[in-house]
Homo-oligomer: 319 residues x 2
Amino acid sequence: MTKYLITGFSGFVSRYFLEYLARKKRRASILGIDLHPPEFKANDFPGLAWKYEKIDLMEKKKVEDILWKFQPDYILHLASYSSVAFSWKNPTLSFQNNTNIFLNLLEAVRKLNLQSRILAVGSSDEYGNVTPDSLPLKEDSPLNPVSPYAVARVSQELLAKIYVEGFGLDIIRTRSFNHIGPGQREIFVVSSFARQMVELGKRRQSSGQITTGDTSIIRDFVDVRDVVRAYDLLFQRGRTGEIYNICRGKGCSLKEIIKTMAGIIKIKISTKVDPKLIRPSENQTIIGSNRKITKETGWQPEISLERSLKDILRYWQEK
Amino acid sequence: MTKYLITGFSGFVSRYFLEYLARKKRRASILGIDLHPPEFKANDFPGLAWKYEKIDLMEKKKVEDILWKFQPDYILHLASYSSVAFSWKNPTLSFQNNTNIFLNLLEAVRKLNLQSRILAVGSSDEYGNVTPDSLPLKEDSPLNPVSPYAVARVSQELLAKIYVEGFGLDIIRTRSFNHIGPGQREIFVVSSFARQMVELGKRRQSSGQITTGDTSIIRDFVDVRDVVRAYDLLFQRGRTGEIYNICRGKGCSLKEIIKTMAGIIKIKISTKVDPKLIRPSENQTIIGSNRKITKETGWQPEISLERSLKDILRYWQEK
């Protein structure tokens, strides 16, 4: 049995990782830790052995205890205050949590001399403000983070490197681009749009207005189901200390997302900008290159943007 | 009266900053904060009004209180766990302290809406492993930090940028290269060498051995008295949000430092490597370019390396 420890177990990405392992009939034993219990049930993932424990990653001692008991082969570190908006409202809390929980994890692995392979999930937000000629962004493109969240992610990435080179830990780092998919919380942009549209649909309106931030920004959206497959491939084939972009390799503006979803749901949508949703600093265009991960692991995105958006709309319709 | 708040008040650099202001007959009122009281006395700096308060920068509320009461024009943020060696032994503590105290300071300035100009002191260690063709290092050279301390410094720098661009704070950032000078603690390399040599001298030995780490590394050593002059000029003429190297612009190996000091003190010195002083990762050569600060503020280093070394040896002889 391969042992996986998953932090941020009750979040959006974790559930898809479990689904993936179950579908692949992987012989795996999974320990999930989070502050809150997951919403999924024991038999949601046929054939998979998993257990949840309530652990606050800020509590060093408890992190050490659980790692010592479980001795995972793989650690998927998903736990994060991952909202950029939250980080602007609570810069200190966002930064400290993101970096401190990661350090507690690494220190425990180091002190206990575990051989666990760790996947440190980072973000495309690390690239920050980029010039058009640097697109698509490659792993060696300069980092110019423009939000407290993004700075925390860069810090995590740099700390990971220290623990690889200075202490011999086996860490692989990702820069995961905007992932989307059914079940994502509505504090994230595509979910927010989808929910608003589905509500208009439920009122049987043929047209309506949704509230947005800046819809001109272009992002590289990748389906969460593709993302978790990339995480699994990186555990198998990634190289220690390396950084991998996980992205579709194509950009799409929020405007286009809205247009595509409006077409699927057959409602004429207009938008109204809520100034509260405009961030102090914002990156205009983020598009990544996935050449490195494709070359080294064979990974490629398989789910089209349209299929993602359809599935997201269906999720909100059924909820 | 210009009001200066100095963090890390009881440290090595702060005392020289006060000496500089006193020598310049600056009309200044200074509030110094630190965990420990300074060793200098009220009349060490004729004409200068200063006061010390014991404040732990980790205590958010107290930082806010003191900033609100004092309302400084300038904040010289010197407080730091600045030892690279310490950071390898206590990576978490070093990282968290360096970043958390800085965030507490910035959050207080932001919440209180103060107009203080802040000098965020960073380090040449941020550059980390560099290729020979990137020397001398310029402010836009890539950062590749290789110690927990250096990562904390990069994080501080990135956080500063967020607070400038996102919240409108007036912060200037430095990358201060290895400073040396009389009074520096012997956990720093040149002080350690000087003290060991002076002890051999006191025993009237004409030759002797000192303990070192890797003496082949090359650093850009700049005298602390030049450094504090740079800080003052940056307060006056630096541009908000910019980064400035503070360095001599020339490199010198530790071997050469030892040779020069041995010549001054007239003792034949051999060296013995203590493996405990070898770090997990080490930068071979660090030399900076000071073109930017020279161009924008007129600053140039004025104290020769030989004069610095003489003064440092005299300090240990008198101690």
